[in-house]
């Protein structure tokens, strides 16, 4: 902080007669003072812009196709009808995303990439609602309609909703490579 922001401001000590300041913030510049956050007025009047309130020229809208099953493998995707719709610009699947990469942390430790890690899209969803593909279109409704037009086949796979279930002999594995993540390999 710059010198003019030093905590004890002698000029302000005149105000120190106020009880609150005598108790909590005598002579301080910030402690014991009311303040207004810079965005509060805009927020109470509805003028504050949140991410969804911004519009840009040529902006596209994205909708995700989510897994309807807690664990499944995507067998087939046919997006021809969706791509043929006017206003639909592109469809992304997991194949279009970069492979999961190792992470280098601030202190130099490397966290090994996990194929179950945080990827935007997947061909093997491991929870109901995991994004499988994304559609970009000129507006939200078109993107939503395109999602409906995508033909997709899921092969249901075993799943567990209680971790103890999967530990019992013959219990289901919630992932095709077992019942554990690879977090401990980092």
């Amino acid at each position: 902080m710059a010198n003019d922001n030093k905590l004890v401001d002698k000029k302000n000590s005149v105000d120190a007669t106020r009880t609150a300041e005598r108790t909590y913030g005598a002579g301080y510049k910030l402690i014991g003072k009311n303040y207004e956050t810079p965005d509060l007025y805009a927020k109470v009047t509805g003028n504050a812009k949140y991410a969804e309130d911004f519009r840009a020229e040529g902006m596209l809208f994205c909708k995700l196709l989510l897994s309807p099953m807690p664990h499944a493998r995507v067998k087939r995707i046919d997006a021809k009808a969706a791509l043929a719709m006017p206003g639909v610009k592109a469809i992304l699947t997991a194949d279009d995303l970069p492979a999961p990469a190792d992470t280098l942390t601030d202190n130099g430790t490397v966290i090994k990439a996990s194929k179950w890690g945080e990827r935007g899209l997947t061909m093997e969803p491991v929870y109901q609602g995991e994004p499988v593909l994304a559609v970009a279109a000129v507006d939200e409704l078109t993107a939503a309609e395109a999602i409906e037009k995508i033909e997709i086949d899921f092969e249901p796979l075993p799943f567990a909703i209680d971790p103890l279930e999967t530990l019992r002999p013959g219990g289901p594995n919630p992932r095709t490579d077992g019942n554990r993540t690879q977090m401990d390999q980092g």
Binding site: E36, T37, L40, Y41, K43, V44, T45, G46, N47, A48, K49, Y50, E52, D53
Partner: protein, 133 residues
């Protein structure tokens, strides 16, 4: 309302659960996500943008939020404020519990309910003061 450039009203769940989209229709709070446009033909719809006076003077409930630094991210704030304004028309002098019931159709994901109630109660107090002149 987005088409009118009025983005103050927030669409949270789009299925009448969260209350973020609350507006006043003829002074009664409604979830705007679940009201068809043609049903409000000829009726008075008030959104958060229309609450302050033309000269920029805040509505007493808006001022209450400023006074108490209520809300965190404030995405739910327009809905809470509109519902509180509607509720205060029916009960201008509520207890904290009554106010909590009045806005019980509004959810805050930040779980900032305690401060929200403090802010809305201050708003109610501001309203009573302003009506006393």
């Amino acid at each position: 309302m987005d088409k009118l450039g009025l983005t103050g009203t927030k669409l949270g769940c789009d299925r009448a659960e969260c209350g973020s989209c609350s507006v006043l229709i003829d002074d009664i709070p409604h979830y705007s996500c679940s009201v068809l446009t043609h049903t409000v033909r000829g009726r008075k719809v008030l959104t958060i943008e229309g609450l302050a006076a033309d000269d920029g003077t805040l509505h007493p409930v808006q001022q209450g939020v400023i006074d108490e630094q209520g809300f965190q991210c404030a995405f739910c704030m327009p809905g809470f404020i509109m519902t509180a304004v509607g509720f205060l028309k029916t009960n201008p002098n509520p207890t904290r519990l009554e106010m909590a019931r009045g806005v019980s159709g509004n959810l805050c994901r930040c779980q900032d309910y305690d401060k929200i109630l403090t802010a809305l109660m201050r708003g109610a107090e501001n309203m009573r003061r302003s009506s006393l002149g």
